[in-house]
C-alpha cells in the first residue's frame, strides 16, 4: 500500500477541480504515447508500449493445443500478466495478485469481445487441435494506467504476430516455419481509463492520480464504435451521468489512439 501525503492529495484535487493537472495536461488528454513492434525476435509477435513513464512489453507465442469442449472449432487467446517487481518499489515477486489478475482478465475480455482475431480460422483439426496464442504482459515500469497500455500493447503485438503455416496430412499436422502468416484480423479495440478525482472525471491517470482516485472506469471501444468491455474499480460509486460522459469522451479518444497502431516504430 502506497501512502500519498495528505497535502499532495489536496493540491492535486484542487488543481483538478480547477480543470488543471499537475503535469499540465487537459483532463481528457493522454500522456505521450509510443508503440514499437517486432522488438523480440524470438516472439512471434511483440510490442513495447509507453504511456508517459509507464512501460509494458507484450510478447505472443502460438502453440498447438486442444480446443475447449464447448467450442471445438475455435482457437484460443490466453492472456497472462506479470506485475514485475522491477516495475515499482512495492511490487513483490510471486504468483499474480488480484490486481494482476484483474488487469489480464479485463484486457483479455476487451480483445476477445472485440472479435479482433477471427478465432475460427485458428482451428487446425476441429475438436482436436487449434492454435492457442499465449499473450504475456511484462510490466516493466509502472507510472499508472496499466489497462490502456496493456490493451494497446496486446493489440499492437497481435497485429505484429505471424504464425507458421499448419497443414494436415493423414491426421498429422505439418508445421512449416518457412511460411509465416499474419493472424486473421477483423477489428480492433482499445481501452480508455478514466478516474474520478474531486468532482471531475480525468483520462489516463498517472501514478499519483491513481493513488488518490475515488473511482475508476475503463472502457473498451472497437474501431467500429462498439463498447466491447467495461470495468469499474475503486472504493467510491459513479453516477450514471459520469459514466455516460466517460463513454462519450472514450468514443473520440479511441479513434485518436488507433493512429498509434498504424505506423509503429520497429527497432
Amino acid at each position: 500500500m502506497n501512502v500519498i501525503p495528505e497535502i499532495t492529495r489536496k493540491s492535486i484535487t484542487n488543481l483538478i477541480n480547477n480543470m488543471e493537472r499537475a503535469d499540465g495536461r487537459a483532463l481528457d488528454e493522454y500522456r505521450e504515447i509510443s508503440v514499437e513492434t517486432g522488438v523480440i525476435s524470438k516472439a512471434e509477435g511483440s510490442a513495447r508500449v509507453k504511456i508517459g513513464n509507464t512501460q509494458i512489453l507484450v510478447g505472443t507465442k502460438p502453440q498447438i493445443g486442444t480446443p475447449f469442449e464447448d467450442t471445438p472449432n475455435v482457437g484460443v487467446l490466453m492472456t497472462n500478466s506479470e506485475l514485475l517487481p522491477m516495475a515499482a518499489p512495492n511490487f513483490e515477486p510471486g504468483p499474480p495478485d488480484e490486481r494482476s489478475v484483474e488487469l489480464a482478465r479485463v484486457a483479455d475480455r476487451c480483445v476477445r469481445e472485440s472479435e479482433m482475431v477471427d478465432l475460427e480460422k485458428l482451428c487446425i483439426i476441429e475438436g482436436k487441435k487449434v492454435w492457442m496464442v499465449f499473450i504475456d504482459l511484462h510490466i516493466l515500469d509502472y507510472d499508472g494506467n496499466l489497462f490502456d497500455a496493456a490493451v494497446l500493447g496486446i493489440v499492437a503485438a497481435l497485429l505484429d504476430t505471424k504464425i507458421p503455416q499448419a497443414t494436415v496430412e493423414d491426421d498429422e499436422i505439418i508445421i512449416n516455419r518457412e511460411i509465416m502468416e499474419p493472424l486473421p484480423i477483423r477489428d480492433k479495440a482499445l481501452m480508455n481509463t478514466f478516474v474520478k478525482i474531486g468532482d471531475q472525471i480525468v483520462l489516463d491517470p498517472n501514478l499519483e492520480e491513481e493513488e488518490i482516485l475515488s473511482a475508476r472506469l475503463s472502457i473498451g471501444i472497437t474501431a467500429s464504435g462498439k463498447i466491447c468491455a467495461m470495468q469499474k474499480g475503486g472504493d467510491d460509486p459513479f453516477t450514471k451521468e459520469e459514466i455516460m460522459k466517460a463513454v462519450k469522451i472514450a468514443e473520440g479518444k479511441t479513434k485518436d489512439l488507433m493512429k498509434y497502431l498504424e505506423n509503429p516504430t520497429t527497432p
Binding site: 469481445e113 460509486p237 459513479f238 453516477t239 450514471k240
Partner: protein
Amino acid sequence: MITIITLGTNLGAKKRDDGRAFDELRPLKIEAGVLERADGSAYLEFGGNKVLVAVYGPRESHIRRFQRPDRAYIKCRYNMAPFSVDDRKRPGPDRRSIEISKITAEALQPAIILEKFPRSVIDIYIEVLEAEGGTRCAGITAASVALADAGVPMKDMVVACAAGKVNDEVVLDLSEAEDKDGQADVPVAILPRSGEITLLQSDGNLTPDEFEKALDLAVKGCMEISDIQKEALKNRYGE
C-alpha cells in the same frame, strides 16, 4: 422467507426462451440468518442460482496487510462449490474467482461505514452452491443482507442485477443459457437510495445507446430486488 415472481410490465411483448418478458427477473427468494456460527448470514435462490453468504466482523485483524489505521478493511472471498456447475470445479481460487472477489468487495464497500472500525476487518464469504448465470450479482445482493444481519452499520444496502443483449434485444437478468449465447452482459450494482453505481462491467458488444438502455434496465432490476432484500430482513427482525 419470501418468494416473489416479478411479472414484468410488457406482457404483450415478445417473450424469451424461458418465457420471461424482456424486463422480467427470474424468481428470487432471500432468507437472512441461516447460519449459527457466522455473525451474519443470508441464503439466496435466484433462478437456478443458490448462494450462501456468511459475514464475520468487524473483528480485529492480526495481519498487517489487512489493517487500515482509519477504517475497517473489507475482505471478500467468492467461491464456487465443486458441485455447483456441470463439470466439477477444482476446489480453490481461480483467476475468475479472484477477480470477482475483488470487484465484489469494491461494490459493497461504498455502503459500509468503515470509519467506525479502524484496524479491523470484515470478512465476507460468498459460497455459490449452484450456479445458473448471474452469480456475482446474486452474491452481492445476498452479501448485503448478510452484512445487515451481522449488524454492520451501512448507509444503504447495495443490490446488484445484470442486463444484457440477447438476440439483438436488450433484456434484464440473463439466465445461464442467455449469457452463453448472448451478445453482451452488463452486471451492475447500485446504492438504491442515490442510484449511484458501485459495480459496472460490460462484456460483449453494445452500441453506446444499447449500453445506456442496458444500464437503465439493470438499475430498474436492482430496485425491484432491493425490495425483496428489505422483506428478507423484515421477515427476520420484524418491522
